[in-house]
Amino acid sequence: MKKFLIKTALIFVIFAILYIPAYSILNMIADKDSQEASDFEYLKTTEIKFNEIDNYKDIDILFVGSSHTYRSFDPRIFSKEGLKVFNIGTSSQTCMQSWFLIDRYIDALNPKCVVYDLFPDLMNNKGEESTIDFISSNFEHNQAMWEWTKLKMAMCTKNMYTINKWIYKAFQRHILRKENQIQTIKDDELRIRNERYIKGGFVERDLEYYDLSYDNRIDTTCKLGTMQMMFLRKTINLLKDKGINYLLVETPVPSVLYNSYDDHDKYTEKISEYGTFYDYNIRLKLNDSLDFYDSHHLNQNGVAKYDSLLIKDLYELKYIGDYVH
C-alpha cells in the first residue's frame, strides 16, 4: 500500500513537472506564427486599466463588473460632479474575478462606495473567458502577485484549458523572459479603431445605433451558480467588514435581451438578499435603437442618461456624501 502510494505520487509529480516545459515548448512550436503582435491592433482594456490603477487612491466610487460596466460608467461624467471614480470592469468579469480584484485593490483605492454590476448571464458562468483575458494581459508592476492572482482565477474555473493558458503564458513571461509589449496610457485617452480608452477605466465607442433586426434571442432563465454566489457573498462580507457602502446594480440592456429572461423577478428577489439592488432596466426607460450600440451595450447617449441617474441615486442613498453643487 505504502509502496503504491509513494510510487503513484512520485510518478504524478514527475509527470506534472515535465508537463510544464513540454506543454509550453509544444505551444511555442505550434504558435510560431502567433498573433501576439497584431493583438495591438485592439484595445487591450484590461491591460491598460490595471497598469493605470496604481495612480488612483481615495476614490469616491469603484465600479465592478463586466463589459456592461466598463462601457457604461464614464469617469468624465462623474468628474463633472466632482467625483473621482475608477472602473475595474473587464470583459465577461464574473463575481469570482471581481472578488480577487476587490480583495486586492480595495485598501489602496479606499472607495466611499462600490457600484457592483451583476449581469444575469454571468451568474452561472465559470469565468473562463475573463480569466483568459487576465492571463493574456501583461502588467508592468507586481508581476509575481499578478501571476498568483491569475493562477488562483484559473484554478477557480476548474478548467484545464484555462490552466494550460496560464502555464504557457507564465512560462513565456518568467522562464523564457519573453519581452512583452505592454499597452499603457499616457494621455487622457488612447484610441484604436472606433474605440477610445478613457482614463479611469472606461471604454467609449464611436456613436452607433443598435440594429434590432439582427436580434432573435431565445428565452432563457437566470441561473445563479454556486461558485459565483459564494464569491458574491465573500465580496459583500468584505465590503461590510470594511464599512464601505455598496450598491448592486443591473445595467440597462436592450429590452429584447432583458425580456428574454423568464424568471427575472426571482433573480431580483435573490440578489436583493445581498444588499440594495437597483435594476436600471426598470428605473430607466431607454430606447433600444437610440441608446444602445449592440445587443448588450449602451452607446454614449445611453451612458449619459444612465450615469446621471446613478449619480442622483447614490446621493439620495447618501453613499457618497451629501450633494454639494
Binding site: M1, K3, F4, F15, Y23, K158, Y161, T162
Partner: protein, 487 residues
C-alpha cells in the same frame, strides 16, 4: 461528480486512502464508507435524487428477502407476486422519470394523425442521472433471487453498497448481483498489481474520454448542428467523428469505472471489447455495451425462448430486445429506429445460424488482419456508422435528411468547418486509440499487461507520459459531460 472533473481528482485519492488506511479493519464499516462516498458522489449532481436511489435499493432489498422466504416455503405464487411488484415499482419510477413525456406526446401525435386533438399534460421532469443503470442492476438482483440463482442478501449495508457503488453507479457497467454482491460480503485486501492495473485503466479511459471523445465532439457537434449546410464529405466526417466520440466516451467511462473499482479491490465486468474490430453485427453486439446486451439476453431474450423456438418467434424475440435496447437509451423515436436498424442487420445472421461465427479474437497471433477480415471489419464498421446517425440526430427527419445529404452529389465541396478545424487533432487521437487497441486486442484494456507488450520500462514510461500529457494538454475549452449520463 464527473470522472473528468477537478472534484473527482480530489475525491478519489482521499476516498482511496481512507478506505484502505482507516476503514479496512471492519468490513461493515468499509461498506458503510462506500455507501457514504457513493451517495456523496451522486449527490454532488443533485442530492434530491438520492431518495430515489435509496427507495429503489430498499424496495429491491426487502423484496429479495420476502421472495427468498417464499421460495424456501415453496410458495411460488407468492414469490412471483412479490417479484412482479418490485419490478413494477422500479419500472414505474423509470417510466415516470424517463418516459412519461415521451409516451404522452407520442400518444397525442398518434391521435392527431387521425384528426383527433388530445389535451395532454407533460411534466417538467429532470431525468435522474444513471436511473436506467441502477434500476436495471437492482432489477437483476430480485429476478435472480426469484430464480434462486442467488440467495437474498440480509446485509443491508452490503446491499446498498452493491447498488450504489460509485464507480459504476451512473453509467455502468450494469453489474449482476451474482458477481458484485459477494464481493461486498468478503474481506477485501489491497493488491498492488491490481491497483497499478486499475491506474493504467483509468489513464486509458481518461485518454479515450477527454482526448478522443471530447475532441471529436467539438467538430461533430458543429457538423450535426449545421448538417443542412454541409457537403457530403463533411457529413461523412461528422458521422465518423460521432462513431468515435460515442465509443471513446462510453468505453472511456467504463474503463475509468472498472479501473477505479480495482483500486477498491472490486472487480467489475468488462463492458467493451474492441467493438469496432468486429467482423459482423452479431460480433459487434457481443463486444459493445456487454453488460446491457447480456442483461437483455438473460432477463428478456432467454425467458422469451431465445433462439430455441420457431423462426417467427426468433424474429419476435430479436425485435423485442433490440427495440427495448433502443428505448432504454432514451425517450425518443430515433433510438427506437436505431434499435430496429440493428435488429434488421442482426436477424439474417441469427436466422441462418451464423450469429456465433466469430467468437475468437480477430487476427489472433498476427500483426495485421487478412484482406477478408479487413473487408468484413470495414463493412460492419460502416453499417454501425449509419446506425449512429439515427442515434445522434434530434429527430428521425433530421437523421433521414443527414443520410440523404451523405448520398448527395456535392461530396467533395469544401466546407468552412474543414478549414476552421485544422487545430483539432481528433483524427490523430482516433488513430492512436485504434492502434493501441488493435495492438492490445487480446488484453483486458488498452494498457492491460503492458509489460508483456512493451518490455522496456522506458517505453512504457514514455507511453504513460504521452497519455498524461495529451489528457492535460488537449482538453477542450468546455468540459463535455459523458454522453451515457443521459441514459
Amino acid at each position: 461528480m464527473l470522472f473528468n472533473s477537478f472534484e473527482f481528482a480530489i475525491f478519489l485519492p482521499i476516498t482511496f486512502i481512507l478506505y484502505w488506511l482507516v476503514f479496512n479493519r471492519n468490513l461493515k464499516l468499509q461498506n458503510a464508507f462506500i455507501v457514504a462516498v457513493s451517495y456523496l458522489f451522486y449527490g454532488w449532481w443533485d442530492w434530491r435524487f438520492l431518495i430515489l436511489i435509496a427507495f429503489t435499493t430498499f424496495c429491491s432489498y426487502t423484496s429479495g428477502i420476502f421472495i427468498d422466504k417464499a421460495n424456501q416455503k415453496s410458495q411460488n405464487k407468492k414469490a412471483k407476486i412479490i417479484s412482479a411488484t418490485n419490478i413494477t415499482i422500479n419500472l414505474l419510477i423509470l417510466g415516470v422519470f424517463k418516459y412519461y413525456n415521451f409516451f404522452v406526446t407520442s400518444f397525442a401525435d398518434a391521435f392527431s394523425a387521425f384528426g383527433i386533438t388530445l389535451e395532454t399534460t407533460t411534466l417538467n421532469i429532470i431525468l435522474p442521472v444513471g436511473i436506467s443503470f441502477y434500476t436495471f442492476q437492482a432489477l437483476s438482483y430480485s429476478i435472480d433471487v426469484y430464480r434462486r440463482k442467488i440467495e437474498a442478501s440480509h446485509d443491508i449495508i452490503a446491499f446498498f453498497a452493491f447498488v450504489s457503488f460509485f464507480p459504476q453507479l451512473v453509467a455502468g457497467p450494469i453489474e449482476r448481483a451474482t458477481n458484485l454482491l459477494p464481493q461486498f460480503t468478503q474481506k477485501r485486501s489491497f493488491d498492488y498489481s491490481t491497483a497499478v492495473d486499475g491506474c493504467r485503466q483509468i489513464l486509458w479511459g481518461l485518454f479515450k474520454k477527454i482526448v478522443v471523445a471530447d475532441n471529436c465532439a467539438t467538430t461533430c457537434n458543429q457538423i450535426f448542428a449545421t448538417y443542412a449546410d454541409q457537403p457530403a464529405s463533411m457529413l461523412m466526417v461528422g458521422a465518423l467523428l460521432f462513431t468515435f466520440q460515442i465509443y471513446g466516451d462510453f468505453s472511456g467511462y467504463s474503463d475509468i469505472a472498472i479501473g477505479t473499482a480495482k483500486l477498491f479491490g472490486i472487480k467489475l465486468m468488462r463492458n467493451f471489447n474492441i467493438p469496432y474490430f468486429s467482423r459482423d453485427i452479431a460480433e459487434f453486439w457481443r463486444r459493445w455495451h456487454i453488460s446491457l446486451t447480456t442483461w437483455f439476453r438473460d432477463y428478456i431474450y432467454i425467458p422469451l425462448g431465445g433462439s430455441r423456438v420457431t423462426k417467427a418467434k426468433v424474429v419476435r424475440n430479436t425485435l423485442i430486445i433490440f427495440l427495448l435496447s433502443g428505448l432504454w437509451h432514451g425517450a425518443n423515436w430515433t433510438f427506437v429506429i436505431w434499435g430496429a436498424y440493428h435488429a434488421l442487420l442482426f436477424l439474417p445472421l441469427i436466422l441462418l445460424g451464423k450469429n456465433r461465427k466469430y467468437t475468437h479474437t480477430i487476427a489472433e497471433g498476427k500483426h495485421i488482419p487478412s484482406i477478408k477480415e479487413f473487408a468484413m471489419m470495414l463493412i460492419t464498421f460502416l453499417l454501425v456508422v449509419v446506425g449512429w446517425i439515427f442515434f445522434r440526430a434530434e429527430t428521425i427527419g433530421d437523421a433521414w435528411h443527414y443520410i440523404c445529404g451523405l448520398c448527395s452529389l456535392n461530396t467533395f465541396k469544401a466546407s468552412y468547418l474543414f478549414f476552421t478545424s485544422t487545430k483539432n487533432f481528433a483524427g490523430i487521437f482516433v488513430i492512436v486509440m485504434l492502434a493501441v487497441e488493435w495492438w492490445q486486442r487480446s488484453k483486458e484494456h488498452g494498457l492491460g499487461e503492458l509489460h508483456t507488450s512493451l518490455k522496456r520500462p522506458i517505453f512504457r514510461c514514455l507511453l504513460y507520459f504521452f497519455l498524461f500529457f495529451s489528457i492535460l494538454a488537449f482538453q477542450t475549452s468546455d468540459s463535455i459531460q459523458f454522453l451515457y449520463f443521459q441514459f
